[in-house]
Symmetry: C2
Subunit: 228 residues, 2 copies
């Protein structure tokens, strides 16, 4: 079975308060995205990497690859209006009839090998695999009246890579409303497929603020630790 990863890096980085979109910021000596691509390349032998970037970021990315002598093979594909359009563009490059595809946030550079291969292997067995971790904080929801508690019993935070058999994604992304979903699991579910949960990792941070970049750097320096 062929394996693909569609790495989506469409963000413009507003929340970082920086001019450079967060996927290009340096983490432990090289841009965030290089960590992300390499993690998948090392986790799964023979995997094909598809990187989706806003069209106007592609020349900058190519320059970065030159400057950093980044040689991990990957196909660069222009993104679309929404995350959904970007994923769809990435998927359109997959010609294989049968394949397993991981869709992954470009700004999660610390996805570890065990988690990535665990997700692929669950998806090959069940059709889908979505990594989750338990929450450590209580939840509240703002409402017209102020706020109210949300029962967090059994509630998990959803991460990526979300892995699927390609035909599930093809069916899901053929829906007219595909662009309304920011989470592939929800889109696949709307298309009638069952979602199977895999074990996520607390290391698998999504880099959205300057703190997150510091946290990621610390985790890289500390190396691998046993995860709960």
């Amino acid at each position: 079975m062929e394996h693909y990863a569609v790495i989506v890096a469409g963000g413009s980085g507003n929340r970082m308060g920086s001019e450079i979109p967060k996927q290009f910021l340096k983490l432990a000596g090289k841009p965030v995205l290089m960590h992300t691509l390499q993690a998948f390349y090392e986790a799964v032998e023979g995997i094909s990497l598809i990187l989706v970037l806003p069209l106007n970021h592609i020349p900058f990315w190519e320059e970065l690859c030159n400057n950093f002598k980044f040689e991990t093979p990957h196909l660069c594909v222009p993104g679309g209006e929404t995350r959904g359009h970007s994923v769809k563009n990435g998927l359109s490059k997959i010609m294989a009839e049968q394949a397993l595809v991981a869709i992954h946030d470009g700004v999660r550079p610390l996805a570890d090998k065990a988690m990535i291969s665990g997700c692929f292997s669950l998806a090959s067995e069940k059709g889908s695999a979505v990594p989750c971790i338990p929450l450590s904080d209580s939840l509240r929801k703002k409402d017209n009246n102020g706020s109210h508690p949300v029962d967090r019993n059994g509630v998990y935070a959803v991460q990526t890579p979300q892995c699927f058999e390609i035909e599930i994604l093809r069916t899901a992304y053929a829906r007219a409303d595909f662009m309304n979903y920011t989470d592939d699991a929800q889109l696949a579910e709307a298309a009638g497929f069952k979602i199977h949960l895999a074990e996520g990792s607390r290391r698998n941070l999504k880099i959205t603020t300057p703190e997150d970049l510091i946290l990621a750097e610390a985790l890289i320096k500390a190396g691998k630790l046993s995860v709960e």
Copy 2:
């Protein structure tokens, strides 16, 4: 108005995979709890600190204070069967008729001054203040059928310090079912009080796994950063 902080450190540290409960583990050169106590001591002039520890941890804590020459004044109070009992024991040491009380997790050593004083000031105005941060991940809930998405729109992760006027806490902790609540906001709400949300901080980690300790250490080393 008198200010108090009840720091609850009842955990036995199972999730850390360590023999030493996590509140005693070393973070940037000294036990986690010393950071926590110091944060409140520095944030609010004249604050009284009440530390609630399991009875059998108190001698160990006192030894640590000697060894680390930790001189931040605090009252040490034995905990109870549940978190609720521990908080209630802590509150029972407050004699003042009027006071503002912060209830805080001992394993959140990075509560920053601005957040602590912001919570006290909102509580002095409104009666309560509960710090929250927006979620960065999607949510799913496990159910009999597998799992289903939880709408995270308007959903916030709840942190501590949760600050209240003492009479709210006295009324709430007089309820027969006080020990069934792990979150003081929910208990106060059950007792009929309105909860007001304050701005939490992404730095304000709850240390529950070995990764969290590394993350906290990194944040301390990186010093203060602008928080989103």
